[in-house]
Symmetry: none
Subunit: 121 residues, 2 copies
DNA sequence: CTTGAAAATGAAAATCATTTTCATTTCTGC
DNA sequence: GCAGAAATGAAAATGATTTTCATTTTCAAG
């Protein structure tokens, strides 16, 4: 576990959810760390190999990462103004777990977001 | 529905499963069709917008496409081999609707995928 | 059958996340 | 301190996808 990996883990802890390599790099720079984008990619790759972070893909193909096993929440995002509300997802968790079990999948995670137009817009 | 889209649909029918844009382009050329890679991408984009093909991502970020199965559904994706299972999401729909209503959101849509490791891997 | 505007087409250039290269710096154990 | 190994990051390379733009095709109206 080298310096870059420690830095990346710490910023992932701060973020608490999914983020892309480029976002994480920006966050690290903004918080005063000195680290190259290359090292962020290398750290994420290595952490992913070691099952310390989950990696998946957004619809546009960009990779996003988060700490494994982190308890997480979901977002309700306004399509118009972009404001977000954190929402509770136990029903969703149950659904995901049931579906995965039904098909024999292990090490299960999920990604879910709800979009709509908020009351103000 | 233009010529390119028809050609792409026909090759997708022939393939019967997922294939990348580049693979589809090669297959079309090999079977004697004259079509540019650009047009393959454009056709896939348009067919995807029209919900005629499903688009998703391999682990390496490359997009793969196939003719849509029937109704609105979600995917259970294997992080290791990329195989997917279409799953039923009525529990998810209910959750999304309830959460949106609770916060006064309108015109609601959602995005959800479950990922894990399939029984074979 | 013309004509002209709109749609379609594709080659080449641009984009952009990610990976690779490679020269330099930092650790390590001795 | 010192040699070799590991880590680092800037810059170049890669590769899928998108955009640009000039050309071709389609097709309805005259």
């Amino acid at each position: 576990m080298n310096k870059s990996e420690l830095k990346v883990i710490s910023v992932l802890e701060r973020v608490g959810g999914f983020a892309s390599a480029q976002q994480l790099h920006q966050l690290l720079l903004r918080s005063g760390e000195s680290i190259g984008l290359t090292s962020v990619y290398r750290a994420l790759q290595s952490l992913s190999d070691d099952k310390i972070v989950d990696q998946l893909r957004k619809e546009d193909g960009e990779a996003i990462y988060r700490l494994c096993g982190e308890s997480h929440h979901h977002h309700l995002v306004c399509k118009s103004c972009g404001s977000t509300v954190e929402i509770e997802g136990s029903a969703l968790e149950k659904w995901a777990k049931a579906m995965a079990q039904e098909h024999g999948y292990r090490e299960v995670g999920h990604l879910a977001e709800i979009f709509g137009i908020c009351p103000k817009c």
